[in-house]
Symmetry: C2
Subunit: 320 residues, 2 copies
């Protein structure tokens, strides 16, 4: 397939222009057409690097851990893009993460790029935007992307399709929590990180998790690894990265992975079709008298919403 010449913006991103990258991310976050065009153009340059998702409850030290992970990767010559996903909530009235400085930015190191993302409402939209920002970072030449999410159920579920390796960060003294973890976290964790392992109980926590992990491998054949880390007297960081790399190597060799990649892309395409259909229909509801009459009938309880929707899906409908 012949490719058109790259646009100025795409060329700038690819050659490492950080301002062009930041601008593109803003466009993607806000859903601007410029972001869309760039993602189309840069898509061939994506899909090869590890996208590591780090998730876990508030207060387990994810940000410090990411700081150390970034330092470790830099000392091994790898460039790192960090995306902190910060779901806004009506109850927190804005940013869960707030204004605290979340990462030692090392502004003078071009091998690190940090971006915090916030989005109200649509958790699906946040996942899409995160995936797209990770693609921009890859196109910009970063070797690894780390995605940090706060452990609020809905967002994590939405984000889980974005990462290639998912790390769940916990702290010692899980106690009863380990029992409840069974139901949900094992499905999403490729690596467990017991952080603050200098606290008493770290060994027990590790043992408990190992016991759970031994209950059986995930459907794809990978058995979750468990790593102990500390960020106060830093330890375990190289081991954490090794566990992540082991999972990435497993993926590369796994036939299940190809199927999973296909499934994710299908999901993305279906999602885009769904949103585009909804967008067009919402537009027509404003302007098309036949559609307005259909809604009138639903309002008058002459027709139910299910039947109305069916008529709109049926090919060749005229909003009868």
């Amino acid at each position: 397939m012949s490719r058109p010449r790259p646009s100025t913006a795409a060329a700038a991103i690819v050659r490492g222009d950080r301002r062009a990258l930041a601008k593109a991310i803003t466009a993607v976050e806000s859903g601007a057409p410029a972001g869309d065009a760039l993602l189309r153009e840069l898509y061939p340059r994506t899909g090869r690097i590890p996208i590591v998702g780090l998730t876990g409850p508030l207060g387990v030290g994810k940000s410090s851990l990411i700081n150390l992970l970034v330092a470790h990767l830099r000392s091994n010559g790898r460039s790192v893009g960090v995306v902190a996903v910060d779901p806004s909530s009506p109850f927190s009235g804005g940013s869960v993460l707030g204004d605290r400085i979340r990462l030692d930015r090392r502004a003078d190191d071009p091998g690190i790029f940090f971006r915090s993302m916030a989005s109200r409402g649509a958790s699906g939209g946040l996942a899409d935007a995160t995936r797209d920002v990770a693609r921009l970072l890859e196109a910009a030449g970063f070797d690894v992307v780390l995605v940090e999410t706060v452990g609020s159920g809905q967002v994590d579920v939405a984000i889980r399709g974005v990462a290639t390796t998912r790390v769940v960060v916990l702290v010692p003294h899980l106690g009863d929590e380990v029992q409840t973890l069974k139901a949900g976290l094992f499905e999403i964790a490729d690596v467990f990180c017991v952080n603050k392992s200098d606290l008493p109980g770290a060994e027990t926590a590790e043992r408990d998790l190992a016991e759970l992990a031994s209950l059986g491998p995930a459907p794809d054949g990978w058995r979750a690894r468990i790593v102990r880390t500390s960020t106060t007297a830093p330890s375990g960081i190289p081991q954490l990265w090794s566990a992540i790399e082991a999972h990435e190597a497993f993926l590369a060799a796994s036939p299940a992975h190809a199927a999973e990649r296909r499934r994710r892309l299908e999901e993305e395409i279906v999602g885009r079709v769904r949103e585009e259909v909804a967008r067009r229909l919402a537009e027509r509801l404003e302007t098309d008298p036949a559609l307005r009459r259909l809604v009138d009938r639903v309002l008058a309880r002459e027709l139910d919403p299910r039947t109305a929707a069916e008529r709109l899906v049926a090919p060749g409908h005229r909003g009868r």
Copy 2:
């Protein structure tokens, strides 16, 4: 419009058969076709009663408050259906609300019906199911439906389109919280309930909220009311119900309300079309070779997901 004879199940629900109602709710929750058929049939019987959403952080006493509100309504001869929406979370490993008995069921009173709903993942799906269950309750003859949600941002946002009156439940000593509340909660609250008002600080909390409320009425012209309640030495419950009724009366008289009802129905119809389109497309991805080739090209990075989706939305596409 001529209506067919009601089905046996619909007739049973309408005449007050509680087992038929419970069965229908289960069908709706699980997305079974039987639930769909019932909702189509019963739709003309819906859209008239107050659907009161009560939301707020964990631990503010929503369940006790609902118990007392139900008792108040019963003593006034009103029947009440209660829906407790219980988002499952990967981190809680299941039910946030857990197994604790959440409502004094008064199993011997046919004027009360309680149902707890849980759903993993899709918050949109949970809102749809809640709206549909409220419709079943209305068709079954209940005078009021109360919907309780736990204050986790995403779910509240999703649920907010379901309730006709939204009550946000808080406790004294809001402190800094009041500031952060500004951003999010005022948009969704028609009534503020300061519960545990026997605790010190209740007056201050009420004053702070009143000050915020005075900053201006909502877009529809309603100014949020503030009510103090206690559930230990019960007080304020009639006042809480009066505030809810005042909002319902406001809605009935408000021209903005008709527009809002239309907007919600349009949203529901668009949502159903979107999901149906996605369902059909996902099916075709399994079976249609042209579509499989399209995905192959996206996997090979020859085509980007946006362009692929566009081709699928375009009328008359063949999955080129």
